[in-house]
Point group: C2
Chain length 362, copies 2
Amino acid sequence: MLTPTLTVDLAAIVANWQSLRARFSGDECAAVVKADAYGMGMVPVATALANAGCHTFFVATAEEALALRAVLADVRILVLHGVQEGEEFAFAAHCIIPILNSREQLERWRPIAREHPHAVSALHLDTGMGRLGLQADEFAQLLTRDPQVLHECRVGLLMSHLACAPDTDHPMNGAQLQQFRNMTELAPNIPRSLCNSGGIFLGAPYHFNLARPGCSLFGIAPQASPENPMQQVATWRAPLLQIRTLEAAQTIGYGATANAPKGARIATVATGYADGYLRHLSNKGVGYIGDTKVPLIGRVTMDMLCFDVSGLPQTMLDNAEYITLLGDHDGIRVDDVANAADTIGYEILTRIGARVKREYRD
Amino acid sequence: MLTPTLTVDLAAIVANWQSLRARFSGDECAAVVKADAYGMGMVPVATALANAGCHTFFVATAEEALALRAVLADVRILVLHGVQEGEEFAFAAHCIIPILNSREQLERWRPIAREHPHAVSALHLDTGMGRLGLQADEFAQLLTRDPQVLHECRVGLLMSHLACAPDTDHPMNGAQLQQFRNMTELAPNIPRSLCNSGGIFLGAPYHFNLARPGCSLFGIAPQASPENPMQQVATWRAPLLQIRTLEAAQTIGYGATANAPKGARIATVATGYADGYLRHLSNKGVGYIGDTKVPLIGRVTMDMLCFDVSGLPQTMLDNAEYITLLGDHDGIRVDDVANAADTIGYEILTRIGARVKREYRD
């Protein structure tokens, strides 16, 4: 039976991680595998990376951390959302490291660190995202008032997050770097982490001890301008339900937004926005049959897409079983699809739905 | 532990189905529960509707049909994608009705219908969607050439799909109705179905025998213009991770797209586009704390959203645990959220991700 399929190239993920690690001048290159490894499958992805020597993983939530711990007993796991009320003992019991984001979270963690000699934490400093972490004055005042807090909470990593890393020339980058230096100088000797994927490409001054790339492991370009140095990871194919030749000129799809002439051949495939093929790709997406590009026609619907395959010879259509929606071809690389949908590759990858069967290639 | 939660009001779904059924002048009102019942959970939704007297369900794929059959033994289940190669025996064995979309599918089904006396089918006629189904000349020629085909395939329903039903005045509606009449007159005595949710509101001439509403069961307005007569079904809440007061004026989030003044209070919640909160809602979405509306600030990120909660008194913030992202308040009803994201409510509902816990209310 034909079924929509996402093929994840684990070897490409490992190669991307190795190339990021090679470019990184600090001590250790971790991997971010939150949101089910950006939709690619946390367990197989993290297992492949661990086998390749990756020892530290970042996830968003405690739930993700516990699922990862269940399959990887010996790696470091850090949780970006920090520790929420009620989660403290699960963190301690499973050696999961919360990235503490506020004074409140520090206070929540202090008794845990006291009771559990192996319980360690990281601390998030806000240098410009405005989202999570201690602000500059807050951090300075805390250390003055409570000089033992980092020691007592066993903070083993100071981290911050870049807001504009893919844009090399953005003034935020330098400002955040300076702020991060200023803040972390108040607590010397604690390892530091600032770089996401884009940050690695901003150069050695940004590197510090630990890098934590996410998006570029999965083929997303780390920087806006130059050629993408990463390998493509995801191939998404949808089975053809029907190919028809129009008896008369007519409109195609909801809202009658597209016109097709008499004799046009329209292929309908079994994938739609319910599977994460964004509706903003209506009349903009492209697919491939073999090596031939075919334009999406009409609106993206919940469970189906239509492509105009009039340009293909009938013999090719007779043998076609799938249209490729995402893969290593011009126009359907992850960043291409994101551009067409006016979003970023991360959203394309993380939203591929449950009806799409996952397949892994080593 | 606090966790992102989608609360689905099953009583509201049943009430919506009953109100659509009351408005429908034909014989039977079915329910469309494809794409996991538009993201609301196929099994609980279909079970609630079956208990309320709904006897016929539409799904997109064979896989969805088998999952539904496993919990509802006695209902009619129709599959919009029809029967694909290799699926024939599963359809026959589990009394699942394919909606045949092409001559090829009719030929695939004919031997099955011959061998299995209970195997019935439906037939899709294309009256203007251009997506699936037999076209007018194709259908007429088929009946001339092969007059036994509908009988031998045991076609028990002729259906077509409206392309522009929510837009009452669209000329496509009348054109499709006329085409449907013309085509189905070639095969009188077979029950007919044309209406989706919007179609029911186009009036009795559109009704025929069977209606198959989907979106409006889940609170989406069936028509573009007047007040929405449907009850809201989904309430989506995300836990607060942190509320902070800014030490200085600063930008918020990726790309530094939003500015907040010194003293602004920013709440960060644990939900992002990986959970289906569309990135197009960046700087546009709104949420509610209690009955107070708060604006989203900055870009939607993978796992987090920021809201400007400066307008709320501190006592209210002290007790707040959740922000409501979708629910029965101005600005966060499903169609409101869709408008803000420049899409349709269907995409909002079907994309709510697996990290969001489902809760059901009767």
